[in-house]
Amino acid sequence: MPETQSSTARDGFIDTRTLMQIRSLELRARIVVQGFWNGIHRSPYHGFSVEFSEYRQYVPGDDPRYVDWRVYARSDRYYIKKFEDETNLRCHLLVDQSRSMTFGSGDWTKAEYAHTLAATLAYFLFQQGDAVGLLSFDEGIRDYLPARNRPGHLRQLMLSLEKPAAGRSTSIAKPLQRIVELVQKRGLMVLISDLLAPVDQLEEKLARLTATGHDVAVFRILDPREIDFDFEDALLFHDVESEKDLFIDPASAKRNYLKRFTEHGDAARAVCQKLGADYLPVTLDQPLDQVLSDYLRQRQRRGKNIQRHANP
């Protein structure tokens, strides 16, 4: 069970309530990132910059500039020198803008939280010199900013994130399909959504994304009330997306709801695990820096794993 929203400050993290009261999204992101640092991540690309990675035998067609002549002098064989590229990580933030994201039982909505999270990630990556892109979606694509690391790009990204969530329903399949088509170069794909859509759609499209070689992280933003469904009286529930009304008596419906909700969450997690994507359920009362550090830690672990796999 997540903690209440106001009790997060004592754990050394930034108080989410205070943070969310800041109007500027960029400022929020800066505060989160400044109180925290040292991004450790690895690029899935082999670049030619600083750190040597490995040798590979020359095959015709390789650029002769990267032939290590000293090795040739020693062994009379052509070897290509490969380096790890630390700077050109391309990250795409996929932010859900559907109406279900406008729900929030506390002082802020899931959409606001998601935007702050996206902004924080973007700021953090931008600071490292990584290229950050944005794709916001609801039932279709709303905004698309390609991943860049130009001055001013971050500002544009923030502006785009500040737009309110106005879409109707959540359809993950379409934006995922579109991003596969749009982004040819491999990179990091961060999906920020409440995933309130059928899981089978998610699985198929995530599979395509990972198959293309992208690194995928899924942040599932949830309201605490969605998780524990603590309602007392019978209410007329209004679906923000479908505009339908349903009369629900929590006394009888809660059990069933919790069961189905948990099943859905488990299924989403299982899909992510199966595809090797990071799955991070986030509740609205969780401090953002904690979320970020959790993610980075998880990523670091994965990074080591990658390295281990990379260097036998």
Binding site: F103, D107, N256
Partner: protein, 693 residues
């Protein structure tokens, strides 16, 4: 408490609605916006677990409101409040229609009718009101509703019985249709909403007149009860006077004998009887089969006034006697002024004297005077017409004008231009130029004014053709010179042929030609005699009395201003109310109007009354009369309808529904206020956070 429309009480079941709605905890005002319903399933509305009613007061008001509405629509009323027996307006209004026509004179019939009338009186309840009408050809009120109500309740029935005992069957014809319509009008007079009834006591004979009943819009709640009385012996033969033919012998009067369809006797005798006499010596026997009629010549009438033509051997004697007025021809004197020989066929006198023949009704005497004779004889009442065929002396003009002014006709024939002076003197409107007209071969009459009473008898296509009469000569005058003159006919050359110049109460007719063969063919034409008679009739006569009337019919007595009229009937002198000219002869017999020339006329029973066979029920059914039902189920239905009418009336008077509607409106206001107050009340409590700001 009773209800006019009790089915509406079922609407009270709607109370179940608010009770159920209050039991269901489905408060739509608590709407919660949620991110997604994909994990939720529709939950059917459930009755509260506690089965506890919420907002008891509101529920009570709503239930009461529905109950009050249902009650109001069922239109309740209190029957016990008004006892219909004591309420005059709740009672029945009954009109008793009693037939007093001549056919009721049949043996035993009148007693039966009176018994039936008494039975009807016995059936009356204290709350009922009664009017008694008698009818033959006229309808008369024996007791009106206001007279009934004026009497104290215990005196009403005895008074009604007394007035019933006082009347007897009369001699008139029976106009049942008129009587029923009069009764219906009487019932409609005041707006009585309770049941209305017309009780008709009649012999329902075939001869009853039913005109006016068809398609009448009968008042609501009215019923007609027919109580027909039947004589012990069926069948009846009757006598009817037939008009005398001019050619027939005055003493052998033709009569028509009718025998009713249900008659058993077909052999009768016809003869003259004196009052008190029972058998005739010179009776002839007549055979008339049932349902047929025969015209026979009555035996020669014996000398004397008081003989009556009587049909013998008929069971019912009321219509077996015919009173026949003796024919007394009216003496008429026509004066002709002309200097002509009686046998000169070229002169007008010759044709005039032959135009008037002696008839049974008139004895016309044409008197010829020379133009210079003094006209002092025109003062007798039988002086009717003056024809001026030659120029008269100016001294005599005033006599002629006086004669015309007293309502007689004067004919001036302008047979030559020499008549100019007479014309000018008679017209008294200045000199009237008179010239001989130029006639090409012959002239014809055109533009006849058939609207004028003189020519009105010719106003039929078969009589209106005057083109066969040729006029060889005629005089021409300007009608504008005769102020007030009306041109009745013109010649085809445009000159007036016949003019009417009214003088006083009489007429001066001016013919611009003569009828001697030298002038025209008029004297030889078929129009000549009728034209002269028409002129004669225009003058005042002894009146338009006919020789024969039917009992009960209105008789228009001739008007003679300043003259006292005495009428002698079969029972002696008959009073004629002053100022009234209409006389209803109640009894058959001979009546004599005493005036300068006594006139006798006969009053007989209407021949329709002789048709005593019962009226075919089909003809009554065809009238679509609102008869009161007789059979069990229909009578029950009628009683039900009657009760419904009374109930409706009670409900209308009490109008409880109005108060119930007022209560309902107050309850609606209370409910609205209370509902609003209850709704606002929880709104003051801190509201749980539902949505982000």
């Amino acid at each position: 408490m009773s209800f006019l429309t009790p089915l509406f009480l079922l609407g009270g079941l709607a109370i179940a609605g608010p009770v159920i709605f209050h039991l269901i905890r489905r408060n739509t005002k608590e709407k919660f916006t949620f991110s997604s319903l994909m994990f939720l399933k529709a939950d059917p509305p459930r009755v509260t677990r506690k089965s506890k009613l919420e907002d008891i007061l509101l529920l009570l008001i709503r239930c009461t409101l529905l109950a009050v509405m249902a009650l109001a629509f069922s239109r309740p009323f209190f029957r016990s409040k008004v006892n219909p027996a004591n309420d005059p307006s709740a009672g029945k209004r009954v009109v008793l229609l009693l037939d007093t026509s001549a056919s009721m004179q049949r043996k035993g019939l009148w007693k039966m009718a009176q018994d039936q009338a008494r039975d009807t009186l016995k059936e009356l309840k204290p709350a009922d009101s009664l009017a008694i009408l008698t009818f033959d050809s006229q309808t008369a009120a024996l007791m009106r509703f206001d007279q009934w109500h004026e009497l104290a309740e215990p005196n009403r029935l005895p008074a009604a019985k007394e007035s019933l005992n006082a009347i007897e069957a009369g001699w008139g014809g029976s106009h049942l249709g008129n009587a029923i319509l009069t009764a219906a009008e009487l019932l409609e007079e005041n707006e009585h909403v309770g049941p209305k009834q017309i009780v008709v006591i009649t012999d329902l004979q075939e001869g009853s007149q039913l005109e006016g009943l068809q398609g009448h819009d009968w008042p609501q709640g009215m019923q007609i009860t027919l109580k027909a009385v039947k004589p012990d012996s069926a069948g009846n033969a009757g006598l009817q006077l037939k008009p005398l033919q001019e050619t027939s012998d005055a003493d052998t009067q033709p009569v028509r004998l009718t025998n009713s369809e249900d008659a058993s006797n077909e052999e009768f005798r016809l003869g003259w009887l004196k009052p008190g006499q029972e058998n005739s010596t010179n009776a002839v026997s007549v055979y008339v089969p049932a349902g047929q009629s025969r015209t026979v010549k009555a035996p020669r009438r014996p000398a004397g006034l008081d003989w009556k033509l009587t049909l013998l051997d008929d069971g019912h004697g009321f219509d077996n006697t015919l009173h026949i007025a003796p024919l007394t021809p009216e003496p008429v004197r026509i004066h002709y002024i002309g200097n002509e020989q009686p046998d000169n066929t070229e002169a007008m006198r010759f044709y005039l004297e032959r135009a008037f023949s002696q008839t049974r009704l008139q004895h016309v005497n044409v008197l010829t005077h020379p133009p210079n004779a003094a006209l002092t004889q025109l003062t007798r009442p039988d002086d009717r017409l003056l024809i001026i065929g030659d120029a008269i002396k100016e001294d005599h003009v005033d006599h002629v004008r006086n004669f015309a002014e007293t309502g007689h006709s004067v004919l001036l024939t302008l047979k030559s231009e020499a008549m100019r002076g007479t014309l000018t003197a008679l017209a008294k409107s200045g000199p009237v130029p008179l010239t001989e007209a130029r006639v090409n071969k012959y002239a014809l009459l055109t533009q006849l004014d058939f609207e004028h009473p003189l020519l009105a008898p010719f106003n039929e296509p078969r009589f209106s053709d005057f083109t066969k009469i040729h006029f060889w000569k005629h005089r021409s005058l300007d009608p504008a010179r005769l102020p007030g003159a009306r041109v009745l006919a013109r010649f085809d050359d445009g000159d007036p042929a016949l003019l009417d110049l009214p003088i006083g109460r009489g007429h001066l007719f001016i013919l611009t030609c003569g009828w001697q063969p030298q002038d025209s063919q008029l004297a030889l034409a078929s129009k000549f005699v009728p034209l002269l008679y028409s002129m004669l009739e225009l003058g005042e006569s002894r009146g338009s009395l006919k020789a024969n009337y039917f009992a009960g019919d209105p008789i228009n007595l001739p008007v003679k201003p300043g003259q006292t009229r005495t009428l002698n009937g079969p029972d002696g002198k008959v009073e004629i109310p002053p100022g009234s000219n209409i006389f209803h002869a109640k009894k058959p017999g001979l009546y004599t109007l005493q005036q300068t020339q006594p006139v006798t006329f006969a009053v007989n029973v209407s021949p329709r009354e002789s048709r005593t066979a019962p009226l075919a029920l089909e003809s009554l059914d065809a009238m679509n009369l609102p008869f009161s039902p007789k059979t069990g189920q229909a009578a029950k239905n009628a009683q039900k309808r009657e009760q419904t009418l009374i109930d409706e009336q009670l409900e209308k008077r009490q109008k409880i529904w109005r108060w119930l509607i007022v209560v309902a409106i107050l309850l609606v206001l209370l409910e609205t206020w209370l509902g609003g107050w209850l709704w606002r009340k929880p709104a003051t409590a801190p509201e749980p956070a539902t949505e982000a700001p």
